[in-house]
């Protein structure tokens, strides 16, 4: 096995046993990027200091740091001091942040090494990475297909073994859907579990940073580092972090009730999700069909809330303090800003924005009721495998429709995992395991259990 293919745990064991050095590990990732990124276009900017940092770390190892010497990729909407950060938008083409996002700072403090910044839908406005102002990322399993998005560059970089792990952010599906389409493990923590400070804002009431990784243990290891209250983000949760990557095994599923929402069993992915549910059933879980609000309502709520919050968040780009002027915005940003402004305007606020927030209350109440009885629910992340390039170009609601099976959980601020659960036509399918707010340990344990019983997450694309 090549070093860049290692998981976090495998890399840590090898580094500590001196089987290879941090320089060798970083070099293996950089070589993989050099060989395949011209084909896949996962990265927008590389950190030219990565190797130097590796040398310094090799000279003075500090294994007390939880991610010491591990190279990672970071979605380009996380601010990195002195390193270009664009959110894949030409408005920010030459923007050099003056400070670090909390997530990035915590990863640096944990000893991780940044390889580079990954491609995404511009401003995270999309589910394909096709709306990047710098051109699309391609799916490593089949380059005629989309990687999903908006964290498509991070998901494809993990799938193509260009890094040991990556960071993405999710507003509604932007970690889980590209993870599903690229066949990697993606984890969306509860809203507020991970700080948004220094993340270029999309929809502030649902934006949630999280990891894309090679398995659930790795996702847990990274989440444990980046989670926790941050005085710089008033919406981060003061609850103590209850994530223990070393204790994911040993989850007893005997008699546990797991829900299968019938409205979510859509498309080609349905049969694979039912097979995945069998794996939990074999371990003694009690799988029950349940009924939830039709996902079409979640599409509507998410569309209105997100466009409204986008219109507010994009208002700050004036081209005076940083970035280009507003003529540099591309089409999707205009689409969302204008419709959001409309939904918030006098006379239409009650009809659109307020109504959406009222339905959001109903969605939350429905989940509260569900989780009184059930540990979590299982469903497809997306109804089918990765769509072909160009599919989303002419549909003004492409992303919202593609993400319909994860939007309700996002507007309710739940935590959810996407794990590979099979393949259709050579393209991976993702299973979502979604639970109540702050149930990270339980959801990650369920993912760990599923991956201990299956091998889908071990399959690699032929590049």
């Amino acid at each position: 096995m090549m070093l860049n293919q290692l998981t976090i745990t495998e890399a840590q064991v090898g580094l500590r046993a001196k089987k290879f050095s941090i320089v060798e590990l970083v070099t293996a990732c950089l070589d993989q990027i050099k060989t395949y990124d011209h084909k896949l276009h996962c990265f927008l900017t590389l950190n030219d200091q990565a190797l130097n940092q590796a040398k310094v770390m090799d000279a003075k190892p500090d294994w007390s740091k939880p991610l010491f010497g591990l190279p990672f990729a970071l979605k380009d909407n996380f601010l990195t001091e002195g390193l270009r950060t664009t959110a894949s938008a030409k408005v920010l083409d030459d923007y050099l942040p003056q400070y670090n996002a909390t997530v990035y700072q915590r990863l640096l403090n944990a000893g991780a090494i940044l390889l580079g910044k990954t491609n995404m839908d511009a401003w995270a406005h999309g589910s394909s990475t096709e709306t990047s102002d710098y051109g699309p990322t391609l799916n490593p399993w089949n380059t005629a297909h989309l990687p999903g998005g908006s964290s498509g560059g991070s998901a494809a970089a993990v799938a193509a073994d260009m890094c040991i792990f990556a960071i993405g952010s999710e507003t509604a599906g932007s970690i889980r859907q590209p993870a599903a389409w690229c066949g990697v493990t993606g984890f969306k923590p509860t809203y507020g579990r991970v700080s948004r400070y220094g993340v270029i804002a999309m929809a502030s009431s649902t934006d949630s940073p999280g990891p894309l990784a090679k398995n659930t243990t790795d996702a847990a290891l990274v989440t444990a580092v980046i989670a926790g209250v941050d005085p710089c983000d008033a919406t981060s949760s003061p609850k103590p972090v209850d994530i223990h990557p070393q204790s994911l095994q040993g989850l007893s599923l005997k008699g546990k009730k797991i829900a299968l929402p019938q409205e979510y069993l859509l498309g080609e992915a349905k049969d694979l999700v039912l097979k995945a549910a069998e794996v939990f059933k074999q371990a003694g879980a009690n799988i029950k069909n349940v009924s939830l609000l039709d996902p079409k309502f979640a599409i509507d709520v998410y569309t209105l809330v997100q466009r409204s919050e986008v219109s507010s968040n994009l208002a700050r780009y004036d081209g005076i303090r940083y970035g280009a002027d507003r003529s540099a915005f591309s089409y999707q940003a205009k689409n969302r800003s204008l419709l959001g402004t409309f939904a918030l305007s006098t006379g239409y606020y009650d009809q659109y924005y307020k109504k959406a927030q009222q339905v959001r209350t109903q969605i939350i109440a429905e989940f509260d009721q569900l989780f009184k009885e059930y540990e979590f629910y299982l469903a497809p992340v997306s109804p089918g495998p990765a769509l072909k390039l160009g599919t989303g170009q002419d549909n003004p609601m492409f992303g919202e429709i593609e993400d319909r099976l994860v939007e309700a959980s996002s507007v309710a601020g739940l935590t959810g995992l996407s794990v590979p659960c099979g393949f259709i036509d050579g393209l991976p399918i993702g299973l979502q395991i979604t639970g109540p707010q702050f149930s990270e340990q339980s959801i990650l344990s369920a993912g760990y259990f599923y991956q201990s019983q299956t091998k889908f997450h071990l399959q690699k694309p032929k590049l």
Partner: protein, 97 residues
């Protein structure tokens, strides 16, 4: 419901390219028609949710945070036009009018 795209673009200060008004108009019509599903739900008694983890009144002391603030040099470092340590902004008042 017909959205006045040109008026909205002015409010949002968003310059549009030729052809974009028609494309946006068609997209808005489609989107607003789709989200009209929400009217099928009887919700008048529901409160609106703005913060999902129910945090309230998160305050900090109103004092400088030296580890968070930017120096003047840092703050100006990305500006295209500066003058004697200040941002240069476009003129918004037209004296000749």
């Amino acid at each position: 419901m017909k959205v006045n795209v040109a008026h909205l673009a002015k409010l949002v200060n968003m310059p549009l390219k030729p052809g974009e008004i028609a494309k946006l108009q068609a997209g808005f019509d489609q989107t607003l028609k789709a989200v009209a599903h929400l009217n099928q739900l009887p919700l008048t008694k529901n409160k609106a949710t703005f913060q999902v983890t129910k945090l309230q009144n998160v305050w900090r002391e109103d004092k400088l945070q030296p580890d968070r603030g930017l120096t003047q040099k840092q703050a100006l470092s990305n500006a295209k036009k500066t003058y004697q340590g200040y941002f240069v902004v476009p003129r918004v008042i037209n004296y000749d009018a």
